[in-house]
Symmetry: C2
Subunit: 434 residues, 2 copies
């Protein structure tokens, strides 16, 4: 299709939207060359007009509107870029854009994680592209590999450090020996964690991103509620000390595996071998390790957030959409209606476990705990006993098991907690040997 | 374009070609779904018919031919996959395929490094795709990021461990304290290095791959002869010891940078900080670190060679070509005719240097060397003097400079070598702080 220009309608002029507008303006000529014709910003939908907002005063006032109808009725918009985030009204906006025949680019992980299947089907029906590279991993190409580069592979596993806030907090804890509350507070002061940090530290953000990645990797809709999710607030500085002693690092991982045509998907802290490449991913950086039958292991690493990195992915999607429009290509995404795969319940997963128990400092404790584990066919790989507290007459016992079913381990935990000699199960962390 | 199937002509049934044929056969149904219709192997061109060759006996005999004309005249070939390697006749085969209107996929680094510009122009002229993801980095998507994912970025640097053989040898040297000849011999025995290892250890293989990557990243033809190239055979076990003492690892890096619109491209051993992610890339693994203005640093890691990983990239290219054919898309690659960039001569680069000098064990040596460096405005960042050999009355002096121009450093080296107190400049390695 020969076109003089490709028109862009931008929804939202926040951190991401503002940066997208900036790049579209500043790199106009380079992007025109990549896309095949100029990319022209035709309308910007904002909640309220605020000429003092950064970027806003650099853009012509007539570009702005607060009115949905005015935005969607603007002539010459070929691509709608949604950068407002959140589930609603983003979902309705995306549906409206798609049904009115516009190609769509979004950086919104929540709406894609929750409504990806619906939006993909709608986009296919209306012959338009739906692109969301920026929804996971910021500027790191994480979506593209599953759609293009790795298509010859059967993906067997995804292991991802995909939330910068929690990785920053865990890195501080590992390096400085500080506890979670202190690390969180410092992260908040430095702007790496939000005043209300729940979304990050409870693993919700990682959950959304994993839902997106696993759905693509396994060609099966993995919904946020299919994913077991546990945050990092229970991790103590002691866990880092013991983990190190055992040769492990602690990371919040988003894990998805395909075993016997069943999908296992979970977000929780894990011990990983300290010489694993993922163990070296520190601070706000993200990384995803993908295992496929042909490629073996590949890893992608970079800045998983931030306006600049995110805009890199959004603009790449805009350019790809523009190329498709010029080539007369509508929707190109393949998706099996029925994959035949199942989601595995958490109780059925099998992994190794790290267990830290606060118990009475007297003989026979290990024997009692070992018996419970043994009866449930859980065998112990290693044990450390130390940190005896003379006054309280307690000791700390750290156990690492061999691979065992989650169900048996949960039964063991509840029995161990009931032992008279056990004061408290201080922590319980799964282990991944990657 | 509605088609019943996409026909594939395969040239070469060696390690890569054989694996491609295997995957096309074994994954036929999954690939048909990805591509949009079945991918059918219609002809295989081999140098000689050998029914005993692995794979060959699993394929119908009528697929094989040794005759070029028969191959190119086979009806229904839409995509030609070149897996014979080397410069000629691969170049002529690719040209013939392109000029007869076939989309082309190749894993051949040498032909793309040397003739990429010619082949790209030809493919554009004949409205067909030219894809070569497997030519660099095996199964790791290295080409795709530059063509798609990072298009919004101005790339400022590429730092790549892109030859598995040399990385394996250097890893063994670093871990075991052995010297180059022993590590090479062991690598050869294990099949990680070829009986004639020159192509790998002298950096020629890395040179080709860097030419391909730099040409894409900077949208400017970087030819193999534009790249300074130095192998790893001069590295000694002592260099690893001193490097470690200074906090560095030693890797063979392929480096390309864009500074003031001038392209700097070189392959040589470097000292990199040991906490750099690239320093953790061990054994036959490859990794590429890319710096862009929006994304900051991204890193891609995986198996850079091997039939299985390489076939993953070749098949992804075949699927992309098939999708394009079905969508009626010919050539889609943008390439500026004139980028306006220059190639920077090696003498003009600026970096830090590590220098190991075997000198007389007597006072004043450091003063004499420092004077030469100082006169050339090269300042010393750190110095280690040790390993005195009592019998020979010599000592080893290790210096690390601050960033200095290569030209001045080469002058300094030749002056230092002439000092009466200097027995020998034992080694000289550049340093990259990445």
């Amino acid at each position: 299709m020969k076109k003089e220009s490709i028109g862009i309608g931008l929804m939202g002029l926040g951190v991401v939207g503002g940066q997208v507008a900036k790049v579209l303006t500043e790199k106009a000529s380079a992007l025109a060359e990549q896309a095949g014709c100029p990319l022209v910003l035709r309308k910007i939908k904002v909640r309220r007009i605020d000429p003092e907002r950064p970027r806003a005063h650099q853009l012509p006032a007539e570009l702005f509107t607060t009115d949905d109808d005015e935005f969607f009725n603007t002539p010459g918009i070929d691509i709608v870029v949604e950068a407002i985030g959140g589930e609603n009204p983003a979902r309705e906006y995306l549906k409206r854009a798609i049904t009115s025949g516009k190609h769509v680019v979004t950086s919104n992980k929540e709406v894609i994680a929750k409504h990806g299947a619906e939006l993909r089907a709608l986009a296919r029906e209306h012959h338009v592209g739906l692109r969301y590279e920026a929804s996971a991993g910021g500027g790191i190409p994480l979506i593209a590999p599953f759609k293009h580069d790795l298509v010859a592979n059967e993906i067997s596993g995804i292991y991802a450090i995909i939330n910068g806030t929690t990785n920053y907090i865990l890195t501080r804890m590992a390096r400085e020996g500080i506890d979670f509350p202190a690390a969180l507070k410092s992260a908040q002061e430095l702007g790496y964690a939000e005043p209300n940090p729940e979304n990050d530290i409870e693993g919700i953000d990682a959950n959304y991103k994993l839902a997106i990645l696993a759905s693509l990797a396994f060609q099966h809709e993995v919904r946020p509620e299919d994913i077991y999710c546990e945050g990092i607030s229970r991790i103590g500085s002691r866990d880092f000390r013991y983990a190190r002693e055992l040769g492990f690092a602690i990371k919040l991982l988003a894990i998805a595996k395909l075993v016997d045509n069943a999908i296992e998907a979970r977000v929780h802290p894990v011990l990983i071998p300290e010489d694993s490449l993922l163990a070296k991913v520190d601070g706000v950086y993200n990384a995803i390790l993908v295992e496929g039958d042909l490629i073996g292991k590949v890893l992608f690493y970079g800045q998983g957030a931030g306006p600049s990195a995110t805009s890199s992915a959004v603009i790449a999607d805009i350019v790809a959409s523009a190329q498709d429009i010029l080539l007369g290509v509508g929707n190109r995404f393949k998706w099996k209606a029925e994959s035949g795969k199942k989601i595995k319940p958490m109780a059925e997963i099998e992994t190794q476990y790290y267990l830290r128990v606060n118990c009475a400092d007297r003989p026979g404790v290990l024997a009692q705990i070992s018996k419970i584990l043994g009866d449930l066919k859980i065998s112990i790989a290693s044990a450390i006993q130390k940190e005896a507290d003379m006054t309280a007459q307690t000791a700390e016992l750290v156990l690492m098991t061999h691979p065992s079913p989650e169900k048996a381990m949960q039964q063991a935990l509840s029995k161990i907690a009931q032992l008279e000699v056990v004061k408290e199960i201080s922590n319980f962390i799964r282990v991944e040997n990657i």
